[in-house]
């Protein structure tokens, strides 16, 4: 049967916050837009964001975007690009108002304005007193935002391809992206979507780790597609472990708990964060708190029969605050830890949470790839959200900046795409289509072999053991070798189910290839970076090294090669924040 083909002006892959906010910009125009998502849009992982979105609205106390910018640069451990950070922090304010106008049910202050809570790493006056900058809808902010964006897209009649899985980007000899080959999950039929511009908004890759706050769907599909199209991944060694996942399970307990006044204790009942971050204490930046928890446990001060976690105490906040501001985490605590957080502390331990790295873009969402000694825009390709790396988070993302990132840069990509849309489609590159089809057909191979589940488990365990919170040369070298072995084994994997209709085994096989590509990018980039910065913590190189390492890593699939590029330290309109020692 001939391959079915459809033509659109723009193709957006992924229907989380970034994809939907890009789509809304396009829906307001005559452009023909397709949004492809492997799940029904409101199942996207934006739905799980809890605490809130940062914007210097100054609803609770004095604030301005410049302070927010300082906190973000410092939080990034000076690896974030300051032009992009300035842009994001300025745009935050109109972005949140726009969300509110679109219907997001934000919690409110007595004067009717949007409620803002304190969050980690947020200060007034360039490192002074704690700020309250994180706009919240109770502890369900991501859910409230994602549903609202979907609703506004329904209103605008955006064209959705729900439950279509993107297999690969299609590119021509000049490196221009022409669209993507996708698979309709229900029928099992491939479809070629041609587009003048393609936006990758596929989210993160937390499924690379065994214990994660991320959903089953967070398999780095867009990142891996970019790699296969010859685009590098930037700063992949920087992977955030959220300090408070439910111990042993990984489900997220929002930083908002500590924002509302909760705190961590060890088995002696000590508020140990006072030792690690005398000023910010429990609201120090996430990398600092995660390291502190792991250190407490390693040094024998962990809680529980196995001493393998710490406690997050919030019962002192009282029923009213908990049911008003933190109802979702009370529910999660009850279901997954069997604990009523209004009465007892929650057992917590760091959980793999967020990729600071991703597909390199500029602040318009345009994807960049190295050419010669410089870099150039990849024609027809955009990326936004967690799959992208602008870079606004550098070595460590601050809580509340990820919803902000997806909204600001999803929108920026949509707007830029409209402005620069080519007048016609480039000719299709049939060789590239064949290559994408081969990726799909590879899974038709029959016979005995490894199962997807077996290899996936071995891979995720390897990542957890070798690319976790603390990383040494020895442990990572071993990890990269093991990952290479596992990658070899991919060719031995066989599906037993070759049916067409809603074949989730086939989807999981395609996802496994993607997530393993991301895992290798993380491990190789981590092994090479010989310093400690942000979340990348090397006991064998305990200091940050701005002379040699204040630069972005670029990992290329071809030969697992690494390249580097400088950090953009010059903001758009204000003075540079030069690197300083980072204390909280």
């Amino acid at each position: 049967m001939a391959l079915a083909r459809r033509r659109f002006d723009a193709l957006i892959i992924g229907a989380g916050g970034a994809g939907l906010n890009a789509a809304i910009q396009l829906a307001k125009t005559d452009a023909r837009v397709a949004v492809v998502s492997k799940v029904f849009p409101t199942r996207s992982h934006t739905v799980a964001a809890q605490g809130g979105v940062n914007a210097a609205l100054a609803n609770v106390m004095p604030d301005n975007w410049h302070w927010h910018m300082f906190d973000t640069v410092k939080g990034s451990d000076y690896l974030g690009d300051q032009d992009a950070i300035e842009y994001m922090c300025r745009e935050a304010i109109p972005t949140v108002y726009e969300l509110e106008h679109n219907g997001v049910p934000f919690s409110r202050l007595d004067n009717g304005k949007i409620y803002q809570r304190p969050f980690g790493g947020m200060t007034q006056n360039f490192g002074g007193a704690q700020a309250a900058r994180t706009c919240a809808a109770a502890d369900r902010t991501g859910h409230a935002i994602l549903h609202t964006l979907y609703q506004q897209n329904l209103r605008a009649r955006t064209h959705f391809f729900d439950e279509y899985f993107a297999i690969d980007l299609i590119r021509d000899d000049e490196g221009a992206i022409l669209g993507a080959l996708v698979l309709e999950i229900e029928t099992g039929e491939p479809l070629l979507i041609e587009a003048k511009a393609t936006v990758l908004a596929t989210g993160g890759c937390g499924q690379a780790f065994r214990t994660t706050s991320n959903a089953h769907i967070n398999t780095g599909d867009g990142m891996a597609m970019a790699l296969r199209a010859g685009v590098p991944l930037m700063d992949m060694e920087f992977f955030q472990f959220h300090p408070t996942g439910i111990a042993g399970r990984g489900m997220l307990i929002t930083e908002g708990v500590r924002g509302e006044g909760g705190y961590l204790i060890n088995k002696d009942g000590e508020r140990f964060m006072e030792r690690y971050a005398p000023n910010a204490k429990d609201l120090a930046s996430r990398d600092v708190v995660s390291r502190a928890i792991v250190t407490e446990v390693k040094e024998g001060r962990g809680c529980g029969p196995n001493g393998d976690h710490v406690y997050l105490k919030l019962d002192h906040l009282g029923e009213e605050i908990i049911s008003k501001r933190l109802p979702g985490i009370r529910e999660s605590g009850r279901i997954f830890a069997g604990v009523d957080a209004a009465r007892e502390p929650l057992p917590v331990f760091p959980t793999a949470h967020y990729a600071m790295g991703g597909i390199p873009t500029d602040r318009y969402g345009r994807v960049l790839a190295p050419v010669g000694t410089g870099e150039e825009i990849v024609p027809g390709l955009y990326a936004a959200g967690e799959c992208a790396c602008v870079s606004v988070h550098g070595g460590n993302r601050l809580g509340g900046n990820s919803l902000l990132d997806i909204l600001v840069f999803g929108r920026a990509a949509g707007l830029d795409l409209l402005q620069h849309m080519e007048s016609h489609h480039r000719p299709m590159d049939e060789a590239s289509v064949d290559k994408a089809m081969a990726r799909l057909e590879r899974w038709d191979r029959k016979g005995e072999g490894l199962s997807v589940a077996e290899l996936r488990e071995a891979f995720r365990r390897c990542m957890e053991d070798h690319a976790g919170v603390f990383r040494t040369e020895e442990i990572m070298t071993e990890g990269v070798e093991r990952l290479r072995e596992l990658r070899e084994q991919l060719s031995e994997v066989r599906l037993q189910d070759h049916s067409k209709v809603f074949n989730t085994a086939r989807i999981e096989a395609l996802e496994l290839e993607n997530i393993m590509a991301c895992g290798m990018a993380i491990a190789v980039s981590a092994l090479n970076r010989q310093e400690s910065r942000g979340t990348h913590s090397r006991p064998d190189y305990p200091k940050r090294d701005d002379v040699n390492w204040m630069k972005h890593s670029l990992y290329l699939l071809d030969g697992d090669q690494l390249d580097y590029k400088p950090v953009q330290t010059k903001p758009l309109s204000v003075e540079t924040f030069p690197p300083k020692e980072r204390v909280y």
């Binding site: 409101t42 996207s44 799980a48 007595d110 609703q151 959903a215 997954f336 049916s499 067409k500």
Partner: protein, 230 residues
């Protein structure tokens, strides 16, 4: 623990049948973990799931006769053998995967978006905490479909009756002090089926995994209609 699971693959089966799996239960295991274990034993077993923590709404299934979200259902709570079937009343695509398009159509039909006629202010539209509280118990819906597919009125008239989910959403916007389309929303519901096919059977309330109350929301809509008519 014994799980009896509904199987159907249209490529090879003419109708659904039940198959038994034995799953080793661990402490704290959720039904979703058990379903993933079954998939490990037989990869051709298909079901939707994603977040694993009850917020994405993907993994609604019928367990021992009741619609529930697998990821927040502890297996320890379930009577053995555990019978797992797809949502009732929806066309089965494969195994536990059903076609939810009618459910989504009803959601879209209530125009689930905020309508504002006044010019937008430069900052946020103000809303008092008391007005915002009116949205609690409404906006948290995750579109899992447990309620509507447990509703006999929705089984009989899925094309005409909005069903509990869509009506909860309709009330979510009617209850929002910022929304300015009250008249239009109520007019749209003023016909025999969309709203009035609810016979307060209250299956929806019983099964909602988020503890929401669509029947009450439907009552509020009827009350508002009455108030407007007087």
């Amino acid at each position: 623990m014994k799980f009896i699971v509904s199987r159907f693959n249209p490529d090879s089966d003419s109708k659904p049948y039940m198959q038994t799996f034995e799953v080793e239960v661990r402490c704290g295991m959720m039904l979703r973990d058990a379903l993933m274990e079954i998939k490990r034993q037989d990869e051709s077993f298909a079901f939707r799931h994603s977040c694993g923590e009850g917020v994405c709404g993907s993994d609604g299934v019928n367990v021992n006769g009741t619609n529930r979200l697998a990821c927040i259902t502890p297996v320890a709570e379930l009577k053995e053998p555990v019978e797992i079937r797809p949502f009732p009343g929806r066309p089965i695509i494969r195994e536990l995967v059903v076609d939810m398009s009618q459910f989504y159509e009803q959601y879209k039909a209530v125009e689930p978006w905020l309508v504002r006629k006044d010019p937008m202010p430069e900052q946020e539209i103000l809303q008092s905490p008391a007005d915002r509280d009116k949205l609690d118990g409404l906006y948290e819906c995750i579109l899992c479909g447990c309620c509507s597919t447990a509703c006999p009125s929705f089984w009989w008239n899925p094309e005409k009756f909005h069903g509990p989910q869509a009506l909860l959403t309709a009330w979510r916007f009617l209850a929002d002090s910022r929304d300015q389309a009250t008249d239009r929303r109520l007019d749209e519901l003023e016909e025999p089926y969309k709203l009035f096919r609810c016979h307060t059977i209250m299956n929806c309330v019983e099964v909602c995994p988020k503890g929401l109350n669509p029947t009450q929301a439907i009552g509020h809509i009827k009350h508002l209609m009455l108030k407007k008519a007087i």
